[in-house]
Amino acid sequence: MIVAKRKPLGEIADMIAPYKKITVIGCRSCVAICLAGGEKEVKMLVSALKVKNKKEGRKQQFEALVVERQCEKEWIQEVEDKILDSDLVLSMACSLGAQTIGDNYPHKLAFPALNTGIFGVPEEQGVWSEKCVGCGNCIIHTTGGICPIARCAKSMLNGPCGGSSDGHCEVNLEIDCAWYAIHERLKLQNRLELIEQVSAPKDWSTSHSGGRRTYVREDAKLTQHQKKGKGAVR
């Protein structure tokens, strides 16, 4: 899932300082699960900001909302009036949320309250670690199910760099060397021969460096004929 983290309150406060009527919108999917932008976080942020304002004698009006998935316009349309009615929308979703609002209501300001971080896995309650960077061309079947691009600091494709020392990464001794892990895993699976194989330079065009990516599913797209006017879900 997408893992995000709330910006420091001070930063948020400065960001929204000039505006009077602020709508804070959370999201019930990824960011709710990673405890960053669910209903609770939204309410707490609003409350904390109110306390801050109270202390500093500033007056601002807040509205706290949560939508199912902020990255989809249909869900956002449900709270349209609230958005239109405010000076500023503070999005407590991943930046997709903020951008979707922005794209749908270009004349409205939609600011992010979260820093969108990683495609992460919850290792335990409250700990998320990055395991994918979305390069668009997955190879983990050859690397024992461990992604060297996400989990190696240097995204090495052919074995560890020289800096790997007893299973740790030279860039940050806290984290494990991805290639050490790959070796161990392959050994476990009796597929060590795979590590010998030299993989050719990766075609990065599928990744971000090929510019902004758009995935299209032709059979799912509605033809001009099918399309109705602004169709809402419910």
Binding site: L9, G10, S47, K54, K55
Partner: protein, 139 residues
């Protein structure tokens, strides 16, 4: 009207948390009246939101009082409570509000002196830091 007195909210768990004011009362110890006791089944029930809302609604300081860790009736409740309090404290710090205004305390039913001590401690904090925000601007 009289100069604004400190307003302190104390979320107390129904076990030792509420036993300790009772114990103090029964031993004839008096303490400042500005504390408002809100009873919750367990400090694990206390949500950061409750604490922030209290500050928002006019409290100058908030404390959470539960059983001693490892002696919580619900086993892990007071540990959970402490984590919530710590989170709120860090939020306050980020927002530039004195985090001393929010505290977690643990107690047991034998500490007659504990509750009065806590109250006076929080009162001192407020007297030192002054009220949170100006009088009457509670949303």
């Amino acid at each position: 009207m009289t100069p604004r007195r400190p307003k302190i909210v104390g979320f107390c768990c129904e076990r030792h948390g509420l036993d300790s004011p009772v114990a103090a009362a029964k031993s004839g110890i008096t303490y400042d009246a500005s504390v408002r006791i809100i009873d919750v089944p367990c400090t694990g029930r206390v949500d950061g939101l409750h604490i922030l809302k209290a500050l928002e609604d006019g409290a100058d300081a908030v404390f959470v009082l539960g059983c001693l860790e490892k002696n919580c009736y619900y086993d892990t409740g007071s540990i959970e409570g402490r984590k919530r309090v710590e989170h709120v404290r860090s939020m306050l710090e980020e927002a530039g509000i004195e985090k001393e205004r929010v505290e977690m305390f643990n107690t047991s039913s034998t500490m007659t002196w504990r509750f009065p001590e806590i109250v006076s401690k929080m009162c001192d904090v407020v007297n030192r830091l002054g009220p949170l925000g100006k009088e009457g601007d509670e949303q």
